[in-house]
Symmetry: C2
DNA sequence: GGCGGCATGTACGTAAGCGTACAATAGGAA
DNA sequence: TTCCTATTGTACGCTTACGTACATGCCGCC
């Protein structure tokens, strides 16, 4: 598949400086003037494992830009059943409703792997988005990719076996991490995939036996990335293609607009 | 649940005039000046059953506003498995990628119940969106509701039984139609829900026996709407709430912005 | 007025995942 | 060291939906 950035480069993980450009790719792609306007409002913040970035039906106060770590858009049912419907890393923005000019949403966002980033007041961000075309274009482009990811997840969760979905999830998380090794319990993965913990044990066991991953006591390590890709469902590839398009050049229409 | 508009009122179904305001609620909500700018570019169009409005990975030429009929956002897998991930009626806009400043998408949109509406050239619509704040706000608000719908569908397809999902689908379609009676084959519904036709026969049979619907030879009729609501999964109610919010007043932030 | 095809009814064995329960092990705290 | 708790392993019966196959019935075409 597409080449990955070497892991060694990004050793700055937890100590992103307030000065200069942050690691978040949306912020990094802003024009100098746009970034300068946002900068005084950006507040550096550490994000703990399982920390909520916003909750369903509660007015959203901040928009988050992750530098490291991974967040999940989660849908929780009345009976407590929960499932992840989208994943957000340093390629994106947490706080979709704000970009839609809204203040609440029926879904929540939690940290899936702890990390750090910056946040900005929701109304301030909304006003900046209205003011700056380039920021708006970037945000819209990201929303599109994220929307596609959610649409893909819908079909994926319905059609594909747990094994394949595990592979996809591990790869997506890995793509958004700086390391092949990250904290993850089977319990948590089960919640993300909306299945029983026992089911994940089965699936993960097979993957480990086949040398694709190694795990234990709340950590996973990707041992054979290509093997995982082969074993994952098509959804991973489709999302990755879109993801790479996002990080590439602007699509024609917006570029012209 | 919420009261419905009486069916009798909307007998204009197929003959929407080019003059005056169309039935599409987004267009109907535009300011006079915004609508005046769009109007010369709007082209009236009839939309046949199963007609594609755009296909995956093919550049989108037009944005559609339905007056009548219902369209579906569909995700098709490599092996031919397909599932609907979103439903669009006269409350919305078909052509999300365009509103994101993009030209292609990995999903397709097909007509699920034939109808009529207007279309506008994609680049023209994009430019108008950039120019007009009120149009942009309306579009963003709709995108948010639609996004929520897709996120809900993802969890729904995963957690809920076919019976309940059938009820939800019938209700959502019914909400977007002018009649309680519309064309629908079990084969088609099966494709929308991403299940076997035989499975739908079972589920629909039960609903008919219980007097909730009546169907045959490619048509359904909703007999007991409240009964269906009771039997549907929570996803219907959640979506409906959001849907009603969309058609109500502007959310705080955008109104202030 | 018969025929062909679409729409629907039904059945049987199979597979994936659920709900639940309980055992085993490892890391950290006292 | 010892204990406690979080994490992981495994089993059993059950439900839902799958894949496939075949039967029935209705509509419209010739």
């Amino acid at each position: 598949m597409a080449k990955r950035t070497p892991r060694v480069v990004v050793k700055l993980s937890t100590k992103v400086k307030g000065i200069g450009r942050p690691l978040n790719r949306i912020l990094a792609s802003l024009s100098t003037v746009d970034f300068a306007r946002l900068r005084p409002h950006l507040e550096k913040i550490d994000l703990a494992y399982k920390q909520p970035l916003y909750d369903a039906d509660v007015p959203i106060k901040f928009v988050y830009f992750l530098d490291t770590g991974v967040a999940s858009l989660v849908n929780v049912m009345r009976n407590g059943d929960a499932a992840e419907v989208g994943t957000i890393g340093n390629e994106g923005i947490v706080g979709l409703p704000v970009m839609f000019g809204d203040t609440v949403a029926p879904t929540s966002v939690y940290m899936q792997v702890r990390g750090a980033g910056h946040r900005i007041s929701a109304p301030v961000f909304w006003k900046e988005m209205e003011r700056s075309l380039s920021l708006r274009l970037l945000a819209l482009r990201y929303i599109h990719v994220f929307f596609n990811q959610v649409a893909q997840s819908a079909a994926c969760a319905h059609f594909h076996t747990l094994d394949k979905r595990c592979c996809r999830w591990l790869l997506m998380t890995c793509d958004r991490m700086q390391e092949d090794d990250f904290p993850l319990t089977q319990e948590f993965l089960a919640m993300m995939l909306g299945v029983r913990r026992a089911g994940v044990t089965q699936a993960a066991g097979k993957l480990q036996r086949d040398g694709l991953i190694h795990y234990g006591r709340g950590r996973v390590r990707i041992m054979d990335r290509n093997g995982l890709v082969k074993r994952a469902c098509e959804c991973y590839g489709i999302g990755k293609r879109d993801f790479d398009r996002l990080l590439g050049s602007l699509p024609p229409m917006a570029a012209a607009g």
